[in-house]
């Protein structure tokens, strides 16, 4: 149940295994209450995140996407998040050209010990997405309607 009033929105989080996923764990162990709109996908490293993951999520049903990795210079693989930083920053520029509010996608760095910070990140981003409301979607192909019907059941 979302601690925010009203409808729960769908936010996808891509978290690196070594820092941010640990940070989210720390927040859980510390019982830091967070909104529940976020669904987490654990990836080995923020450098593993194909920018298309983010675009696919935004186009096919997410109202927001959050990426979180190790702080720069703290990457488990030394430089994965440096590459990620460039890619993520560039891909953000595609959103306004598509008619998607760029605030629907953010990336940040949270270490495994930063449970409090994780709580703050999730709260802030969830608020931001709730301010924007549900995302508009491009229509899907009518010949695939059955998939929608089954998903709704």
């Amino acid at each position: 149940m979302s601690v925010l009033k009203g409808q729960e929105l769908r936010i996808i989080g891509f978290l690196c295994n070594w820092c941010s996923y640990g940070g989210a764990d720390t927040a859980g162990i510390g019982r830091f209450v967070q909104p529940t709109d976020l669904r987490v996908v654990r990836v080995p490293c923020s450098g593993r995140i194909n920018p298309l993951f983010i675009m696919k999520a935004l186009l096919y049903g997410a109202d927001g996407v959050l990426v979180s990795g190790c702080h720069p210079r703290d990457c488990h693989y030394a430089e994965g998040n440096f590459y990620a930083r460039r890619r993520l920053e560039v891909i953000k520029a595609l959103l306004p050209a598509l008619g998607i509010d760029p605030r629907r996608f953010e990336y940040t760095w949270v270490s495994a010990s930063e449970g409090r910070r994780w709580q703050h990140v999730v709260e802030s981003f969830t608020m931001q997405i709730h301010d924007l409301g549900p995302a508009r979607r491009l229509p899907d192909a009518p010949e695939l309607d059955v998939l929608k019907m089954v998903a709704a059941e």
Binding site: L94, A97, R136
Partner: protein, 321 residues
């Protein structure tokens, strides 16, 4: 001797060293040249350069890797060659680059607009240039159009009319008409509301037939038969006719060209449904230029920006929270 004749001579000279020289010839329609592959000196007589030679011959270069090939390039085509070289997709010693100064090329779509229904552009029987005018022979007589009205947009913002890094350069270098690319087209589009922008793409992409001409005409799309759009596992796209999948393919194309697109506009020109897909790539090029002061195909010393990183990124401001 005209530039075209000089180029023909240079091509003939280059031939003994290369398996073929890629350039242009007259196409089946007067306004559109077609690619030419010169293998014998006699073939070179069919070579045509100039206003109608729009195709980017750099698209063929990766196919000829492993043997030496010559290519005649305009300024924009030379940027594609430069970027292919920078990424190691072709080898410098395997291409002979023949450059010349380009005065701009035609945009056939603009001709259709300028004709304003007088005839179908396909009915044009002959075309010739007279000063700054284009003279078209149509079933209902001669029609004169101002070249400035029908020249491709990319030429209006071209900073490199002279082929960079050419082995042979024919003719006198030209001064570019502008001093910087202001990305006014991207800015104008982004001045629309988000709602309007998405409306625009929904309408435009509904015309897409998924022929992938945009991808295949792109000189930087080197995955060819291994494109992720064709993959069933992972399945990025369904086989449906939906606008969402079509849009997502354009996102794939644009994101794979981030920091690599030289703005030659072949994707848009190739589109049989006339969807302005270059816009997405230019939105990313503008960002890459802002962040890393990198222009694909020009600033090619060192690795491309998305294949490298800096410990501190002076232009990237990260989230406060």
């Amino acid at each position: 001797m005209s530039i075209q004749e000089e180029l023909q001579a240079v091509i003939k000279e280059a031939l003994p060293d290369v398996s073929c020289v890629i350039g242009w010839r007259e196409g089946p329609e007067p306004l559109r040249a077609a690619p030419l592959f010169v293998r014998t000196p006699a073939d070179a007589d069919a070579f045509r350069s100039g206003y109608f030679a729009v195709n980017n011959p750099a698209v063929f270069l990766p196919e000829y890797k492993g043997g030496k090939v010559g290519v005649v390039v305009k300024g924009c085509d030379a940027r594609s060659v430069g970027q292919l070289l920078a990424e190691g997709l072709i080898r410098r010693e395997e291409v002979k680059v023949i450059g010349f100064p380009c005065n701009g090329v035609i945009d056939v779509d603009k001709v259709a607009v300028a004709l304003a229904g007088a005839c179908d552009p396909g009915e044009i029987q002959a075309a010739r240039e007279e000063g700054d005018e284009l003279v078209l022979t149509t079933p209902s007589g001669e029609i004169r159009l101002r070249k400035t009205a029908v020249t491709a947009d990319k030429c209006g913002r071209c900073l490199f009319p002279n082929a960079l890094d050419a082995d042979v350069f024919v003719g006198d270098t030209l001064e570019p008409a502008v001093s910087a690319d202001d990305y006014a087209d991207v800015a104008a589009f982004e001045a629309l509301s988000l709602e309007k922008r998405m409306d625009f793409w929904e309408q435009e992409m509904s015309r897409c037939v998924r022929c992938y001409a945009c991808r295949n005409a792109c000189p930087m799309c080197v995955c060819r038969e291994h494109c992720v759009a064709l993959s069933r596992d992972p399945r990025w796209l369904t086989q449906s006719d939906g606008v969402r999948d079509k849009m997502f393919f354009q996102i794939i194309h644009a994101s794979h060209l981030a920091g690599r697109c030289t703005g030659c506009g072949e994707c848009q020109r190739a589109c049989p449904a006339r969807i302005p897909v270059l816009l997405l790539k230019r939105a990313l090029s503008r960002r890459v230029e802002d962040l890393f002061a990198y222009r694909a195909g020009v600033d090619v010393a060192g690795p491309p920006p998305l294949l490298s990183f800096a410990l501190e990124e002076p232009k990237i401001k990260e989230r406060d929270w």
